[in-house]
């Protein structure tokens, strides 16, 4: 079955690629520009990286519920879901803190991002998003610690591109039947010669979601959230802009679905994020300084967790964690010579962490303060300087090479049930990349890249305390950075009728941080009664240690073809293989081969009717690691493959009203993404309407 699916996918893919000989040229429009590769806007075809740009039109047509769901069906991105209120993208075999999330170029990741899958991409409201830019693989020079890739979410700043009314506004409403989910959103915007503004607010709610086949309604999946954002641009003159933005989202009672059965309660309450930025940009247009930008950022994230475990049903634990990060970025672009473009700058982040836990015995009301998930009062600082040159020594060759030096400093100490703990430590390391683009023709680029990067330990790596089913994880302040060397080669083509890319990559990871057997006060178990003997109920000690060595390789194919002015065919295919070299077994949470093929018919008329049929598929993943086998989201047999067909369509009336309707998962397939704790919705009807005021 899997082999048939993959063979069909490859044949269809080749059929789409063959018309590559038809030529055209990439227009300079917003949909063909990417910021996130070199932190300066440039044409997607010119970049040396494997990328994906998801535009506002793509987002509208998908009519997804959340931001992680928009990434499903895209090349090279596999979205793991522990809960219905989460979504952790796996890019190039890496997940969680190895993937760097940006919002308008400002880092969303904090120093407490956990080991494995995390839910934080879902804390960004999809209705605030203008476009999503994804750079797959190491972003070594212009960002720190992105080993798997970068997801940069660009928020709405003003009127949409084709909006004539100014000032104007929109109201949006969405419904989905499987989770009885509703989304309500309203926005106001305007632009003039001196300013541009955007103000938006959203409310989203869903009940427990019904899976396909025999899965039925899944407990612990419903939750609600609200969000708002504000953006102000003041155009000081033709070259200078001052921008202020603020974003906030709060989710309530978001259950961790995979804990249903083992815990009696496991709800994130609240899950809150606030992000503010103040940016000054100047397009000087001098040869020594084409452009510069100064950006201040403030990122505050709060997470509460209410938990009751099955073994202590009378004790309710209240975890409370928050992180506040302040950031500064100064960045410059120069063209000192006709063939050179320099990008250079300075980054600084300083983060402080508060972490606590209170256990309340419900029958008596007695409460007891305990050590939180991380060392309370811990700090984390990162400073980096970087320089990159993109130059063309010959007309047929473009090269970009860069270096980034990162210095990090961890601070904090505690005296708790874990003993005396001193986190103080620091380190620095160099990342570098060399990207080469051979312009075979004006339509075809051949790419060879090499990069070396690393990720330093964060607060979670050095100070986490976690009571798990397989033991108690205790801090290891001595843990060191993980490093990765990667090379990739690829092709990009861009014509009037066909565009696409094909990439092969190979990653070698050293010093991987693995959770394994450890010690606390010289003992391999948690000695509750201090008798020096492991009594019944005293769990083993686990610690994160630099013992891993791994290899990940894969292929990413992405193609789009327009054989007729009304018909667009597009598809993608991704294959990944990961090996844990130390244990000589598959690497954990490696996605199976997956992809999607779509055909979209769209008539250029006043109503702009369109219809799109999408086949989304993934093979079974039976190559599981020892850790995967013990994970209730995977198990020893791995995860079944899936084949899902969705039909979506819509139309627009006088540019004032847009409607989209979807028949999702037409065959009511019971499926979930590998390593997920929740099944995707079964057959459902989705619909959305947008009215421009």
């Amino acid at each position: 079955m899997n082999r048939q699916i993959h063979r069909s996918a490859v044949v269809l893919f080749l059929a789409l690629i063959l018309p590559v000989l038809c030529y055209g040229q990439q227009d300079m429009t917003l949909s063909n520009i990417i910021y996130s590769v070199n932190r300066t806007p440039e044409l997607t075809f010119e970049t040396a990286r494997s990328i994906k740009v998801i535009t506002s039109e793509d987002i509208w047509r998908k009519n997804a519920r959340t931001l992680p769901e928009v990434l499903m069906e895209e090349a090279g991105i596999f979205v793991q879901q522990t809960s219905y209120g989460s979504g952790s993208p796996i890019i190039r075999g890496l997940i969680g803190k190895e993937i760097l999330i940006f919002m308008d170029g400002v880092k969303v990741n904090t120093a407490t991002y956990r080991y494995g899958p995390i839910q934080y991409l879902n804390t960004i409201d999809l209705n605030m998003v203008e476009r999503i830019e994804i750079v797959k693989g190491v972003e070594s020079v212009l960002a720190s610690f992105a080993l798997g890739g970068v997801i940069n979410i660009i928020t709405k700043k003003g009127p949409p591109e084709n909006q004539e009314k100014n000032p104007g506004g929109e109201v949006f409403s969405r419904y989905s039947s499987a989770d009885k989910g509703i989304t309500e959103h309203a926005e106001l915007y305007g632009v003039s010669k001196k300013y541009r503004y955007f103000l938006g607010a959203s409310y989203r709610k869903c009940d427990d979601v019904k899976g396909g086949g025999d899965i039925g309604t899944q407990a612990w999946t419903g939750y609600d959230e609200y969000a708002g954002n504000l953006n102000l641009d003041y155009f000081i003159n033709e070259e200078k802009t001052l921008s202020l933005s603020y974003y906030r989202l709060e989710e309530n009672d978001v259950p961790r679905t995979d804990k249903f059965g083992s815990d009696l309660l496991h709800n994130y309450e609240p899950q809150r994020i606030q992000l503010g930025t103040l940016t000054y940009q100047d397009q000087l247009q001098k040869s020594w300084m084409e452009y510069y930008q100064v950006r201040l950022s403030w990122n505050k994230q709060e997470e509460g967790l209410d938990r009751i475990t099955s073994d202590k049903p009378d004790v309710k634990r209240f975890y409370s964690d928050d992180q506040t990060a302040l950031g500064l970025n100064i960045e410059m672009v120069s063209f000192p010579h006709a063939r050179h473009r320099f990008i250079y700058g300075f980054d600084m982040f300083t983060e402080s962490i508060n972490s606590s836990r209170e256990d309340v015995t419900m029958s008596t009301g007695a409460s007891k303060m305990k050590r939180g998930t991380w060392t309370d009062g811990a700090t984390y600082k990162v400073m980096a300087v970087y320089f990159q040159d993109r130059f063309s020594p010959m007309t047929w060759l473009s090269v970009s090479g860069g270096l980034r030096y990162v210095y990090y400093q961890i601070g904090g100490s505690e005296s708790s049930s874990l003993g005396e703990l001193d986190l103080d430590g620091s380190g620095g390391d160099l990342t570098g990349s060399l990207n080469t683009v051979f312009h075979v023709s004006k339509k075809l680029n051949f790419i060879v890249n090499a990069a070396r990067s690393f990720r330093s330990p964060n607060i979670d790596d050095v100070s986490v305390y976690d009571e798990r089913s397989d033991g108690v994880e205790v801090p290891n302040p001595d843990i060191e950075s993980v490093s990765m060397f990667t090379y990739e080669t690829g092709l990009k083509y861009e014509t009037g009728l066909v565009s696409g890319s094909a990439f092969y990559y190979h990653n070698s990871l050293d010093n991987l941080m693995e959770r394994s057997a450890g010690t606390l006060r010289g003992l391999a178990f948690f000695d509750n009664n201090d008798n020096g003997i492991q009594d019944e109920g005293e769990p083993d000690i686990l610690q994160r240690q630099n013992i891993g060595e791994a290899m990940i390789q894969g292929i990413e194919l992405d193609v789009k073809c327009q054989p007729h002015r009304c018909l667009t065919l597009f598809g993608n295919y991704t294959w990944t293989k990961g090996e844990d070299k130390l244990l000589d077994e598959p690497l954990s949470r490696i996605p199976p081969a997956f992809g999607a093929l779509s055909a979209r018919w769209m008539k250029p008329s006043n109503l702009q009717p369109w219809m799109q049929l999408t086949w989304h598929f993934a093979g079974a993943q039976t190559r599981v690691s020892t850790r995967d086998a013990g994970d209730n989201r995977i198990g020893p047999d791995g995860t079944d493959g899936f084949s899902v067909i969705t039909l979506r369509g819509g139309l627009s009336i006088a540019r004032r009203l847009r409607v989209v309707l979807g028949l999702e998962n037409l065959t009511d397939e019971a499926y979930k993404y590998h390593a997920s704790g929740v099944y995707r919705p079964g057959f459902q009807v989705t619909g959305a309407v947008e009215i421009r005021l």
């Binding site: 806007p41 247009q285 050179h340 270096l403």
Partner: protein
């Protein structure tokens, strides 16, 4: 550590290798035959093509700049001679303007012939063609750029 050293050597090699100079040939700036303008300064042409505070002719009608495609020899020469910038710098400028929602670039056509036809058909248009291209048979005139 060896990996870092190798990367550093590669990087320095590429930084200091001397790139080829851009090919620069003459270009002619053209306007519609009905336009009364006969000469412009480089700064005025630059402001028009970079859409900087220069959007009307002396008679009050709108200026419509028309560009040539990125990386064509004529475009590179125009950027070099008139705008005093590299084609990459101009491209980067427009990418930034589009991305920040400030402005969109002029229409880009793919040959001298297309530019001649466009300028001939639009009273307010201004474009450029290669120095070797003729204007005979088109309702356009070449203007002096000082």
């Amino acid at each position: 550590m060896n990996t870092q050293k190798t990367l550093l050597v590669f990087f320095l090699l590429f930084i200091f290798c001397l790139p080829l100079m851009a090919q620069s040939g003459a270009v002619k700036v053209i306007v519609n035959q009905g336009n009364s303008v006969s000469s412009l300064t480089k700064k005025e042409v630059s402001d028009i093509f970079m859409k900087k505070n220069k959007d009307t002719w002396q008679n009050g009608s709108g200026i419509i700049p028309v560009d040539q495609v990125f990386k064509s020899k004529t475009h590179e020469a125009f950027c070099d001679i008139i705008l005093n910038k590299s084609g990459d710098a101009v491209n980067s400028y427009w990418c930034t303007r589009i991305y920040s929602g400030r402005d969109t670039p002029p229409v880009r056509l793919s040959s001298d012939k297309e530019v001649l036809e466009y300028v001939a058909g639009n009273a307010g248009a201004i474009g450029y063609i290669s120095g070797s291209a003729g204007t005979e048979g088109f309702n356009v005139k070449v203007i002096q750029v000082q």
